[in-house]
Symmetry: C2
Subunit: 398 residues, 2 copies
């Protein structure tokens, strides 16, 4: 396995773009990532596309990536479409990493792209619900907000967590998101605003739920040797790539991180990178719903089980804290264009590790040397009371 | 890059199975491949699932592979869903190969599974049509049969090929398919029957078009070291894996293999394996429509441009010929459960290379030593007058 570097990243801002097609969104992110890498389109040798529900929403199934890459001027090379629900973006990144790490290619591109706004909300909601086993949940009135709400209530009871502590996650993330030009929402929210926003399913209020969105993210990856020769930007290495799927957890136990997909993925990634949670300088975490951020702290080992609330109460995950989480504003501010989310996380980490994150730049544990280690946590779907798919990547500035 | 071996293969027969779900089809192929490998479910470290249109037909998008693998008793490990239209199966095989070749894993499983029968033919036809760029073809009355028919007419005119020569492909393949217990159709057809079957779009008659179907195929891949230690079956090595996508071929030129996706994939695969077309003992070729088999001979370099008709006239691609093509019966006999096709091709090659193909066993160029080299040609979708995706794999018996 060879060292792989992220030579360039780019995004199409997340938001509501009725006038732009999947191809438009993808092309913008591809062109931005290629420009950022200092390479040219013709240098790319293999391409991976992550998209979750383009078949159901846009009617383009089967060859989604080929339509987008060809439209951006990338032809002939191997194109592989990957799909792992909300972790589709991280999965595309992982396969691109593997294609270079293996020695098969020197330059790969990973794209995550999604278009959810289609003037037909029930259609979008139905498409998103396919991130669970539809044979099991289709006829139960099940939806992701109700599943997360039930899970959050068990979590509140088990660990004495309050709705206000969930609201504080949103306060932090919307404060960060106000500084992120790529985010969908730029309004910082107060605890009161979050608690008083429309109730979706107790304890979840509107602002605790990530919004749907359109958007894209892309990353150009290359081998160390190639990066040294051709990539002008300070080099960020992929130090770990871990992907896991749900296990059998049939017992309706109160939620615990023990053995969860998130914990398993994090532990595998730490082992691969040779670091632990205390080494991290910046984290992008899959806060599809606000309670998931507190649980994510615990899955990632930033604190013990049930102590996520302490991190948020003490402000430790603020940009100015000792372990900043979601300086991008997270899904709370960016919205969640399913397949694009994982690659936008990667782009955000790369910007921080390079010191290019502008007003929302994290200082790093040692501000003199700046941030070194970043982690992206991208979960997809649910199954057996767990994430159906969970990807954790660790990046290191060399 | 490490050597990778196919330790086991299995299929769910192709056909019309209204009483079986995607999970049922997948589980049968997974269990068969694992049993054939001599390994156990718990030995598998990573899984790839190829499926093309489960989202549109069954309503299960996003986490298709996770639902199938979990149902078969495979949990926790990384699962990645891949999709490249009709080449989805070969793409799953390729990514599984890469995951082992890279050194990241020792044992991988690749599954191709598809369920097309849903008592709603227009729904199935619409789903299959998404293997082209829907923004371009949606409003044109375009369909795969008409595209192949137009292409075949140009091919007939350019190279003086007759409809009877297309019919001979079907005669050969249905003769082979009658010997294949996994095929959907077991009736050998005569030239007259093929020509007199219902016209779909001239020159294509009904029997020249592959039928829809349900089915699955799976392969267990492992590293050389692991295979030597744990896999009891004679070892088949993955000698080459090539995947390409369509190039820009906007000119409405008469069809030529020059620069086509099929030719590019074949050339890349031959270079990787260090062999040429003359070395091959057995080929499984993507005969979605009968004319494509003759063009496939040319893409693969079995003969010069326009000379595919000579191979079929002279019987050289029969099981008893010097270069047997589609001993399985091809798509003409098996039907074409999109995502499953590529892995059924791999299974067929492995059986031939091991001498386990029963009545349809090819003798090999040198019958004393038996077949050594096999090639699978799996195309997906269409774009720019070319295959949107084309995968060529070469297997070698060691």
């Amino acid at each position: 396995m060879r060292d792989v570097f992220v030579a360039g990243v780019g995004v199409h801002p997340f938001g509501k773009f009725f006038d732009r097609s999947l191809k438009d969104l993808g092309r913008t992110a591809i062109m931005a990532a290629v420009a950022d890498s200092g390479l040219e389109l013709k240098d790319i040798q293999v391409a991976y596309c992550g998209n979750a529900v383009g078949g159901l929403i846009l009617g383009q199934e089967s060859v989604r990536g080929q339509t987008v890459f060809l439209n951006a001027g990338i032809s002939q090379i191997p194109v592989t479409n990957v799909e792992n629900a909300c972790a589709s973006g991280a999965t595309a990144f992982r396969e691109a990493w593997l294609s270079v790490a293996s020695g098969l290619y020197d330059v790969a591109i990973a794209l995550g792209v999604e278009k959810l706004f289609c003037n037909d909300t029930p259609k979008t909601m139905a498409a998103i619900a396919t991130a669970a086993d539809t044979e099991i949940v289709s006829d139960t009135g099940w939806s992701f907000p109700t599943w997360y709400a039930l899970n959050a209530r068990m979590y509140m009871e088990k660990y004495d967590v309050t709705q206000t502590q969930f609201a504080k996650v949103v306060v932090k993330n919307t404060k960060n998101g106000a500084l992120n030009p790529h985010a969908q929402f730029h309004t910082p929210r107060t605890v009161e605003e979050v608690l008083n926003s429309r109730e979706i399913s107790y304890p979840l209020t509107l602002y605790m739920c990530s919004a749907i969105g359109d958007g894209a993210g892309a990353a150009v990856l290359c081998s160390k040797k190639y990066a040294e020769k051709h990539a002008p930007k300070p080099r960020v290495r992929v130090a770990a790539s871990a992907l896991v799927s749900a296990g059998f957890r049939n017992d309706p136990k109160p939620p615990t991180v023990d053995g969860s997909a998130g914990q398993r993925a994090a532990q595998a990634a730490y082992a691969q990178a040779g670091i632990g949670p205390k080494d991290l300088d910046v984290i992008e975490l899959h806060d599809a719903f606000a309670p998931a951020e507190l649980q994510g702290y615990e899955e990632l080992g930033l604190c013990a089980d049930g102590e996520g609330k302490i991190l948020i109460d003490e402000g430790r995950t603020e940009i100015s804290g000792d372990i900043p989480v979601n300086p991008s504003g997270g899904l709370a501010s960016k919205g969640h264009p399913v397949g694009a989310t994982g690659l936008a996380q990667i782009a955000e980490l790369v910007w921080h590790l390079r010191g290019e994150a502008g007003q929302r730049q994290v200082p790093g544990k040692n501000p003199r040397r700046g941030p070194i280690w970043g982690l992206a946590h991208n979960g997809g779907g649910t199954m057996e009371g767990d994430a159906a798919s969970m990807a954790v990547h660790i990046l290191k500035r060399e």
